[in-house]
Symmetry: none
Subunit: 202 residues, 4 copies
DNA sequence: CATGAATGAGCGTTCATTCAT
DNA sequence: AATGAATGAACGCTCATTCAT
């Protein structure tokens, strides 16, 4: 009787090992040996479970995205169905109220992934797909407030603000007043939605 | 008669070589040999003019910052002294109206630098110093509109939006509607400033 | 009641797996995992049935030799007992009329084995033993025509030509006119045997 | 004043280092570290002068071929212009009278290259090109004796015999009677040329 | 100032072999 | 018999850095 497969568990360990090492040393400097050590495994095993280092990164992208989607879904679900603005705020809170402050290594990892997306086409594809999905979600929520025509640009703006807070909190942590991110971005959202609604009404 | 020093010219070439290579391959993968080739120089000369690879990066950070400061100064100077809101918009335009679209390699380089700032303390210090200076400038402009008390958080929010647009346009270029960045961020600014002014007035 | 042993069948599968992989990738690059996959077995099983990779190769050498011996025996048996020259030609046909053209992977495998024989003493021993047996067979046939004294050198020459055709057809396949090998080597044999017979008669 | 380039000298050392190590351990087992050691150089320098290990092999193929061409040219040049058969024999002597016996590592290297040609397309191309050039030379000499029509098949046969002697002397050295190779192949040549001439005359 | 050869540590990856099940 | 996860050494290759000229 063969030993029961523990492949998924091992892949998990390795992906989390990459996140840990990468958030401290970046992707290039996260050597496979260190990833293995962080995962408590032998170096050879990493390549038994992943065809190459990039594959680990791609799985990590997907996992971080899934975590975020869950957080968003949970928060948005709590909002009353007719409260369209509340859902937009819930979306933003999901990213900023806990994300940026609560899990610095995930934020650092995400910023690192953004930079890797610039030069690794496969990473870029994965990154774009994740961002596109998030954006479409947000765009839908925004459209309920201001209509479809203006939703795209507004949601990109709000999402950019979120990403920008990630970058600043990871790369220049001393400069972001603690706890201000969610509040400020929601204010931006309110301003954008008001303006757009007013125009729409005109 | 000693030949006139060309040190500064050489350093310039090398720094621009790094920017070029780095925007295509990232910092770690930008080998000194490639930097030298991009600069039209021999590899050995790079270490004659810089003590190590990181020093080139630090100079690049400062140069990109200086370029941005000049663009900002030029635009803000054109605004009527009493038009406080106009100056905020000029600041944002300086970063987004030309920056993100017009010089993709500088944007890619800046995003790469943000990620390197996460793990290289010296890079982080340089990055923070640059961001702090920009933020203080923006904060001053914002304070003229809404007062000192609220200026800090608002300016960080606007600056985050700018950084976020940089990241999105470098890492997921298909997703940012072309030309929308400056307009949207200025809308955000208007909303924030209106809200804050109203509160202040209250 | 113990299940009947399938050891021999498994060893067969593995040896043929090695031949398949080796003819495409060479011996060193034929990984045990690939051999197992080609054999339809699990990697661990390979080392259950063989102590190491080299042992598979040694068995393969013996099997390819056995195949060749059978082909030779079959063809030679068809020749009239008194037709000594006919037997020499039958021997050569056994190697070249079908071998080189009909089973490219066996030819590639044999050429690969020749090269491995240069550095692995155990492989060299196995290879030498096989070649010696073939040579002794051929030498016997040649001796019936020209006498024992000259048979050794002549049979080595003919055998060398056979091996040379193997190499050329495996390594530079475009250069050997299709179907010419058996004919040309038999012409060589005829020339050698004529000359030697004439000298012998003198 | 820069140091004068010694690139060609270094490349020579490295190529000869590969030949030495490869003739003892095969191509795959000839590690870059060992090649460097055999060449008296540091490991990193190998990749400074060659883009990869295969490039060293390709240069070696060309060098071994050049050596052989020179030996052939020297011997053939000594033969009287009208002595067509003598030139064929000189060609064969160039490969077998000294080659096989005198430089075992070159022979072992060549046999190794033949085997590598089976799986590395670039090696195959280089190998085929070398063999084609040699064959065309021999074919021209043979054609002077028997006419163009029969020359191709005969020259391939003789060349195969030469290659076969290389293989046997490298891989099963005990089985080739010392000094017999050149003599036997020349006998084969004589037989082939006689037969073909007779037919041609018919 | 400038060259480009040289160094050696470290990287991602492969792999024969072992072993718990 | 059989599985496939696990190991760790070795490989080809890259690279920041040094240095003789």
């Amino acid at each position: 009787m063969p030993r029961p497969s523990n492949t998924e568990e091992r892949r998990q360990q390795i992906v989390l090992g990459l996140l840990r090492v990468m958030s401290e040393r970046g992707y290039e400097r996260a050597s496979v040996n260190e990833i293995a050590k962080a995962a408590g495994l032998s170096p050879g095993l990493v390549h038994y479970h992943f065809s190459d280092k990039q594959e680990i990164l791609l799985v990590l992208v997907e996992q971080l995205a899934a975590r975020a989607r869950e957080r968003v879904a949970r928060r948005v679900a709590r909002i009353a169905p007719e409260d369209a603005r509340g859902k937009v705020e819930a979306f933003l809170d999901a990213f900023l109220a806990t994300g940026a402050d609560a899990d610095p290594s995930a934020v650092a990892g995400w910023v690192t992934i953004s930079a890797e997306a610039i030069r690794q086409p496969e990473v870029r594809d994965a990154y774009e797909q994740v961002v596109r999905a998030d954006l479409e979600h947000l765009e839908g929520l925004v459209a309920s407030v201001v209509g479809k025509r203006r939703a795209r640009a507004l949601s990109v703006g709000l999402f950019a603000a979120v990403q920008g807070y990630f970058v600043l909190s990871a790369s220049a942590p001393g400069l972001v007043p603690s706890g201000s991110a969610a509040h400020t971005v929601k204010q931006m959202a309110a301003g954008l939605l008001d303006t757009a609604t007013a125009k729409e009404g005109a």
